[in-house]
Assembly symmetry: D2
Homo-oligomer: 361 residues x 4
């Protein structure tokens, strides 16, 4: 019963097989290999973006911070949701890579940036000219940190606000595949057709060992990106092992299939929890994460049985009245099973102890 995060899961067999396959003969380093070229083309095709430049890095923090550094000068600010990963979970990487830009926090339900709040925040910025940090860029996360999904129309609404102020827009797509299969649109519709300039196209949370693609729909800053990537220590010499993973991820829509499995699992878990007495959902379950509250005694049973997930916020205590609801985050991955979910639900509900669960890998 592993719901702590989608990054605790193993990788699907196709990924390992691709790496084994890649491990033959000599190849030129630093992305100058055929697989890398093929992967870049495959992403251009998947996004219907023949002009786009595509680069691989190994962590989502690197992808986001490098992308934002190309969009926002040091003396400007990046507008993001106050619960965005770039604000809360990257130890200041955007500030570091931009050379000291600011992050301006914007509200909105379910960790989605509210377009009106964004417009107000932009309007408030730099009203005193040179004395203020300037307007830099906008970043949104899809799927969000609260498990919600922006529709293409919602993305376009954000981009319209940004465009009115002449600002570029970045999408943190650490869970892009989960958002996409949830929204039921094409990669292009979710990104550049809605106004996105740069995408962090996540692979790691959806089944890779550690590969993210940065897709620059406008190639103007491609060389700057390459220099920043190298200077940040994020250019891999044995690049083929990143490319092989990404190639397998794209092949036969594996990336979409993995995300569908994770989303389905989350939907089942969400529905199950919502049906329990005293339980409520905190956010709509639109991708692979479930945010729910239920009575403390259900948490005690689950955690005692070894179920892994986070109380959310983390500072709640298992000690106290058993009927008081505590809130939690549960994340499903490509390998979450129905058995796992059902066993977990029985635990929370107070049914008989679950049988051991086998996790594939």
């Amino acid at each position: 019963m592993h719901f702590a995060s989608d990054n605790t899961a193993p990788v699907p067999p196709q990924i390992l097989e691709a790496m084994i396959e890649a491990n033959h003969g000599h190849t030129m380093p630093y992305g100058n290999d055929v697989t890398t070229t093929d992967v870049r083309d495959a992403i251009r095709i998947a996004f219907e973006a023949p002009e786009a430049e595509v680069y691989l890095v190994a962590t989502g923090t690197a992808a986001n911070a490098l992308a934002l550094a190309c969009l926002c000068p040091p003396w400007a600010t990046v507008y993001c949701h106050r619960n965005a990963h770039v604000e809360e979970d990257e130890c200041g990487a955007p500030e570091f890579f931009t050379g000291g830009a600011k992050l301006t926090l914007v509200g909105g339900d379910h960790a989605k940036v509210d377009p009106d709040a964004l417009a107000r925040a932009i309007g408030f910025t730099a009203r005193a000219g040179v004395h203020n940090v300037q307007r830099g860029a906008v970043t949104i996360t899809n799927a969000t940190e609260a498990g919600a999904v922006y529709s293409p129309a919602e993305v376009a609404a954000i981009c319209a606000v940004a465009r009115a102020a002449d600002l570029p827009v970045h999408m943190d797509g650490a869970r892009f595949a989960n958002a996409l299969v949830s929204a039921g649109c094409s990669p292009a519709e979710m990104t550049w057709k809605a106004g996105i300039d740069v995408l962090s196209f996540g692979g790691t949370k959806n089944g890779l060992m550690g590969v993210e693609a940065v897709v620059l729909f406008d190639p103007a800053r491609a060389w700057e990106f390459e220099l920043r990537r190298k200077r940040g220590g994020h250019l891999f010499s044995k690049h083929r092992y990143l490319s092989a993973q990404m190639a397998a991820y794209l092949k036969d829509d594996l990336w979409l299939k993995l995300a569908e499995r994770a989303n389905h699992a989350a939907a089942r878990l969400s529905a199950g929890l919502a049906a329990l007495p005293g339980a409520t959902l905190l956010h709509p379950t639109q991708a692979n994460a479930v945010f729910a509250a239920w009575p403390r005694e259900g948490h005690r049973r689950a955690q005692k049985a070894g179920a892994q997930y986070y109380l959310w916020p983390m500072d709640q205590s298992l000690e106290g009245p058993g009927d008081q609801p505590l809130s939690a985050r549960l994340v499903c991955s490509w390998c979450t099973t129905e058995d796992e979910i059902d066993a977990f639900l029985r635990l929370v509900e107070g049914g008989p102890a679950p049988a051991p669960v086998h996790v594939p890998g």
Copy 2:
């Protein structure tokens, strides 16, 4: 005939097997898994350094730049050889991670820092107090960019100069294993017993997909290192795949065996070249790289037959008188074969065309 770099080679089967083995079940992310704990202990044991803190990153540039950032404040300088990787091949990563420190270039044969030149450079620094960049740290590379190896006594001589000025010393050990088996000493003798404070313990050039360990023999700056690593985007969520590689690398002295194979290959290649008419060695061959010059016609034959290596410096031309010597760099890896070498030597010498060569992987 692949001598362009040791980073064009595939990884040995033990590494892939370890990754396959690691790919079962769920593990906590970000290094909070058992394999990571075991690997850190194994490195402490290998270096006889129970107090050391050990961290994994995926690139040598990240390892070096993060290490130097912990040793040198923004207003100080890092003393390095003028041909050091940190100076010539990292696109300013040390400057970026330190927040704008300077690199002071020091001379010395075979890319080894000359202790007297280092002492003079240190003495020259900060003679006008607050007006100057201050003394920060010393970094040396072992094996060097010219394929030479510092003995423990030579390392100690550098460290003595540094210590006299109260400066910490970093070792870029991208090819540490090659240096170690060449010098025939223990890891501890080559590092902290000789005065090294922080080591970039390379794995990638010696057979891993992309794993380097940073070993802080003095753990005082460990937490700072962790923050800098995260902030630099170099903390991996699925950390187990780095740890599994490093564990396999250390197991049964695989790392030393791989380096021995590369060094042996380089020795054979070096001896063969030195014996050719008109050929000379530019640096002693002490690790896995050979620097040699031979007549242009030999280069033309080799390159026509598809041999991969760099003219060094790169701006020499294959056009011109056939008997004029051109210099080159040739790097052997763990999988360089005797057949490959012999075929190459025959080509350079002008003998019969070589048979096809099979490279394992």
Copy 3:
């Protein structure tokens, strides 16, 4: 009728006389002159802080940013009021000088940091360890951007919250003299006795051409400060002209007398406005700035007659119903006269046109 800012005023004659006096003979540069030594001692005496280190710079932004850079590492955050000068009026200087630290915005009435809100903000920080920006430092402004003054007890309450989290506290004292004469306490009571670690001791807004002192009550980071100052281009070669100003400022309590005059003027202006029909004060007038609202027609009369002040917020319009109140900021300086104030009040009220006003200088 100049109420736009205290930085539009000329300097008092004593300051110019001191500069004329200083302009004789040769002196060693960069602060190695007798006047500088004397000034540093005078500040130590004024603050009863014999161990303190004191440095002069020319702008408040430099003073604040250099001070914060010594207190907060790049991967941490500075807690400040959301309307603080460091947040709103320094174009990201704290982010630049710290190397990319964050500013965490805290609420509180009258631009004073609320201690409970501060405690909550600190408690929220770094709850996920290495993934988050860490706790760095606290900064408060006295007098505040809203013209309010922290009492020593209020400063101590902030410092107690900071100390409980082991955080240093900086005070932006751009209007320190105004705060001090308002609170009626000693410099020591307002600063280190209440827990302040570093003070930006302002001179410019209170009558100097451009001199601020940074007072490090704990001298441990003095050398770092000196290096950061030089590296930031803020070490003056002809330092005597800064020191001469500061010496005259301190002599015979000129600094306190100037602040008293400005505060008295603001009190008169505040009382006069409050007594007008339809007028309200937005903040208590405790230092030299008045924040008030009154009917639009009063603003139209005042601005038509050339009165200089800012509508606050700035985006209000003079066009519209005459009886609707608009809010404004009015700042008095050491040379604001009673005649000026009275003339202004008559204008706002709708009385006869004022006679020309003479401003000393």
Copy 4:
């Protein structure tokens, strides 16, 4: 006998008078005053550059570092002479303001960059593409740190090398006036007509309290400069006091007259020293600094009598054989007198003790 530096001198009476004159009434801050507008126009006229943007800062380090930050991205290098002020005397300010760019040191006699050496250095840069720091900008100093002066033709030769590599050129003109009157050309001929893009137009060393102008002949980066200046804490609120100084400096060619006086003094001192037995000049005396060597006993006599100047390099000792030559740097200012010089020469030569010297101020 004050030859330590030109920054130990007082300011000429015209400067103080201008500041007294400026000290009347209220003016808008941050350069939004009439004097500032006038000064900017005056500099445009003096340089025949109606399109240029002009900004004032208070220190030469700020002028240089801000200018270079606008010309060179963080991942590139600034080519400078190895004895340039930006390399040796600014504690890494260029590295700080650029966000971590490198300085590449180039040789040349008399602290002038040698064009061929520059071309080689540029050619050597970035030969391995993304792995290397890139080519950024060139900076030269006129007059140089060795008291030599580039002619317009020599400036043009440097700029031609830079232009061939598409690099902008900055001139550190801390002693621009001294260079100009020495070369006998117009400001335009020395700068943009020869290919200079940005000039640090010094005032401080030539008689101001602390004012330098940055002249951007290409105004494209003006707004960026303004933001960097503010963010660096270098935008003065009471800007009028900078502008008043600069206005007086430009009026009636005061700046040229001051430089002529300093240059004349240096010429007299240089000729006098060169005529002494055992004395030699180390560099041609083309501006206001003299570099000469003479027997140690002459130094002992001079320093015993209180003459102020630096042994150059500084680590030479007054102890030792009296006839051994020691080298020294002597800098003349606008207020150096013939009496001072002659008294000094008599001391060095071993004549009768000098009478007291009166320095104006």
